[in-house]
């Protein structure tokens, strides 16, 4: 039996899971709950001027790239298995391409957007 190449995506899944676990709750809390309900002055954190200032640092953009893109791979890996296990077994190659392809596209979009800032 051939050893699978699965470790490649599993490593991304793990890294993405870690990033999402560490940063997901606070980001969603600030960007979603706090900002929309006026808590903690969170809305100010995401103001146009402030975000432009923060994003002006290359290091910030590099870190942001990691924080934004890795959870996509975590989602793609989980979503692929949900779909295949829910019965889309016969088209699993298509499912694999669609899921990781989406993650790749979003990663590229993140890279492009951050590069152009």
């Amino acid at each position: 039996m051939a050893r699978s190449k699965e470790p490649i995506v599993w490593a991304l899944f793990g890294a993405g899971g870690m990033v999402a676990a560490l940063f997901g709750p606070i980001l969603i809390f600030l960007l979603g709950i706090a900002a929309s309900t006026g808590l903690l002055g969170a809305a100010e954190m995401f103001s146009y001027a402030h975000m432009r200032e923060l994003a002006s640092y290359p290091l910030v953009r590099i870190v942001l790239f990691g924080i934004i893109s890795l959870p996509m791979w975590h989602w793609a890996h989980r979503f692929r298995y949900i779909l295949v296990d829910l019965g889309l077994r016969s088209i699993r190659l298509l499912v694999v391409v669609a899921c990781y392809g989406t993650a790749l596209a979003l990663t590229a979009a993140a890279a492009l957007v951050l590069w152009q800032l």
Binding site: G17, M18, A20, A21, L22, F23, G24, P25, I26, L27, I28, F29, L30, L31, G32, I33, A35, S36, T37, G41, A42, A43, M45, F46, Y48, M51, R52, L54, A55, L64, I67, I68, S69, P71, M72, H74, W75, R78, F79, Y81, I82, D85, L86, G87, L106, A109, A110, V113, L114, Q116, L117
Partner: protein
């Protein structure tokens, strides 16, 4: 001989046992984390354009109709964090001599890192 009898996925998700339901919810949680990263991409994209466009997106994101989404997403994000750290405990074995440091052992540094990351983000966005 009768063919094997397997529960269908809908059976797993809706009834039988809570463990399978928790599993499905855990898997779905990844969608919400990814969704907010997509929001960040949109915001970063809009930063290149005029302030009005950027503010328009945020006005949409922060409209009252979206608050239930934020609440649900936040709950799912917490579910992900807790289940992921528990999973890490099972996957990584640390031994001291013959004893295995209990599965809780891996979770402690993970939760500590979570607290640090959370405080860092609040500080960075607040004062960075």
């Amino acid at each position: 001989m009768l063919p094997k009898r397997a529960m269908s996925w809908s059976e797993y998700m809706t009834l039988k046992r809570g463990a399978y339901r928790v599993f499905m919810l855990r898997e779905v949680s990844s969608l919400f984390n990814a969704l907010y990263m997509v929001f960040l991409i949109v915001m970063l994209h809009d930063l290149r354009g005029p302030k009005a466009d950027y503010d328009a997106f945020l006005a949409l994101l922060w409209s009252p109709a979206m608050i239930p989404l934020h609440a649900v997403a936040f709950a799912f994000a917490l579910l992900h964090t807790i289940t992921f750290f528990n999973a890490m405990g099972k996957a990584i074995v640390i031994r001291s001599g013959e004893e295995r440091i209990s599965e809780g052992g891996m979770a402690v540094p993970a939760y500590a890192a979570w607290v640090v990351a959370t405080l860092f983000v609040v500080w960075f966005l607040g004062h960075g």
